[in-house]
Structure formats: C-alpha cells, structure tokens
Subunit: 200 residues, 2 copies
C-alpha cells in the first residue's frame, strides 16, 4: 500500500467541512492548523474508560469502535467510525470528565484530532465552524434518535435485519460479536438469529 502524504489527509477534512459550509483558501489553511495528524495501528486504544477524552477525532481512514464494558465484563458497542466520520466520547470531551467508554481501532487508522480549547478558539475565530458543528451535531442527533427508536421498539432479530439493510457489507468488515454488542444482544443469540434466518 502506498503511503499517503499528510496533505492528502488534511484535504479529506477540508472537503468534509466544505460539504457543509463554504470556505476560502485562507480559512482552509487556518482551520487545518488546528488539527494534528495521528496514526494508529490496528487494535490500538485511542481512549480508555476512566480517562479523559482530550480530543475530538475526524477519521481520515481506518475503522474504529467505541464500547462500554459493564460490571460483568460485557461489552456494549456505542458507535463505529469509518473514514469521513467523527469519533470521541462527547460527554467526556465536552465536560473533560472521565470517559464512560473505550475507543479502539479495528484497522490501522489515520485521524485528525483537535482538543477542546482549540475547538473553542477555532469557533471563535472562524464563526462558520460554529455552524459546521451545529449541522454535524444535528445529523448525529437524528441518527441516534432513530437508533434509540429501533432499540426500544424492535426485537433483536428485526434490529439485525434493519442493520443489514442499512449497511449491507457490514458482515464482511466486522466479527459477529461486535455486531451483536452494537445491537444490544449476545453473540450467542445473534448466532441463533442467523440460523433462524438461514433456514428459509
């Protein structure tokens, strides 16, 4: 695989932001100056439960997962993040309090990170970014809201089918146990669901 230049990664970010607000080239450079490139290998922790989430991360490439480990040692997946998504523990990041979840890479990943202070400063100096994050948050709010509705209104099997429907290739990219923990069921039960579906 060919190594991408840092420049290329920052271009991803710029394009991402420009899909929501318009920027002149001076602004682009200025905005980029607030983000630091970070490369991670596969299976590396970006954040551990209990630590403070110091950065919000834009994913240039790779694949990450955030999950909570409960008192019985069971994992519950909150989010996955592919390229062109963001990932953090919002609560921990905004309040600078201990995180309730882990974030780990599933593949080698390249991120652009910004800390809270710089994010504030960036919004102060480029008010458009206020708009950018407002829109970003609205979108994620809509998605979360839908997921919550699915979770409280559908049985596990239907949630699984709905997920396959929305992300047809998810099976190839993820072990089943992670899909199960995202759906809020156990891997064993997901296996049974799959058996039931295959039987037709």
């Amino acid at each position: 695989m060919q190594e991408q230049t840092p420049k290329r990664y920052y271009d991803n970010l710029v394009r991402h932001i420009e899909s929501r607000i318009s920027l002149d080239s001076e602004e682009k450079d200025y905005i980029c100056s607030f983000f630091r490139l970070r490369k991670l290998l596969s299976k590396q922790y970006l954040l551990a439960q209990g630590d403070i989430c110091r950065y919000d991360h834009y994913v240039c490439e790779g694949f990450l997962r955030s999950f909570y480990v409960d008192g019985n040692g069971n994992e519950h997946t909150l989010h996955f993040a592919l390229e062109d998504w963001w990932i953090s523990d919002l609560n921990s990041f905004l309040k600078q309090q201990p995180a309730s979840r882990n974030i780990i890479t599933l593949d080698a990943s390249v991120l652009l990170q910004i800390d809270l202070e710089n994010r504030e400063k960036l919004m102060e100096n480029v008010p458009k970014m206020e708009r950018f994050w407002r829109i970003l948050n609205e979108n994620s709010s809509m998605a979360q809201d839908q997921r919550l509705l699915d979770t409280i209104s559908m049985p596990g099997k239907d949630r699984y089918l709905a997920l396959l429907d929305r992300y047809p290739h998810i099976e190839q990219r993820l072990p089943q146990k992670h899909i199960a923990s995202f759906l809020g069921i156990t891997p064993v039960f997901l296996s049974q669901i799959r058996k039931g579906i295959a039987k037709r």
Copy 2:
C-alpha cells in the same frame, strides 16, 4: 390560576438562551420576534405521525410527550418535555419530511415556536444563535447517548431504577404506562418490576 402575559413567556425564552450565550437588549427583542406563542390544552396533538413537523418548540410551561406507534399499535415514548426544554421531530423538521412520531400535550402547555426558514434566517442575522443551537444539540446528544447506553446495557428493572434516580418525582407526574413505553417495556412488566421492588 393566574394568566401569564405573553411578555413573561418570551422572558423565559430569553433567559434560556442567555444561559448559553450573552445578548444585548436589541438582540433579545429581535430574536423574540422570530418566535410565535402557541397555547395548547391538555391532550392536544402538536404533531401527528406522517405530518411534517413545521416547527421547533420551546416549552414555556406544560408537559409534552413524543411517541411512535408501531405496526401492532404499541406506543414507544421517545421524549418528554417540561418547561425550559425543546421538543420537535428533529428529522422531520430539518428535512421537512413526514414525521415518524406524534407529539401530544400531557398538561395544558405554552410554547414558543419557530419554523425552519425563520430559524435559518435568525442564525444568519444573529450568528450567536448558531452557537446557541450548537450547544443545545451537544447537550441533547450527550443525554441521548447516555440513554442509548442504558437501553442496550441494562435490563428493564435497572433502567427503571436509574430513571427514578434521575427524576425522583416522575411517578407523580406520569401514568405508569408512559414510563413503561419510555423505558422500552410493557406496562404489565413494569407493574411486575414494581411488585418485586416493593417486596423488600
């Protein structure tokens, strides 16, 4: 009960906004001019599933509930809104598409509503409002995220106890069936949970 003047309601909104950003008195009046007062009796529909959610609503006083009715006629409560909260179907409002849920008053309520176009205009003319809504969305995102985590990681009984813990007086203000539909369980099962708890 004494009738509040409209002025008083707008003051609520202003105080609410000022708790997040600072405003001069000119801005206050200007912002208020974008909101229209709306009074509803108890049990009135503010939005029906399938209709387009034309407004975002700030609750000056009263009590509302948003819920989805599934194919079997079961209700699933997404949100409650008390005074000083906002309520809408965000997805429907932002995309101007048919709503996936109903919004109904549980008590007589007074709202200040703004439509999408005016909200855009307001943010354009008072960029600070961009910031206001960004912060508002971040807060609601954090809350939703926590609720999702609770839902996928705890059994019904624990979710009920956690809810009581967070909103100790909720039992007095809500029939159990609404609490159940918020928790994602049936009223019958909630009754059994309560019996189990009382036995100690």
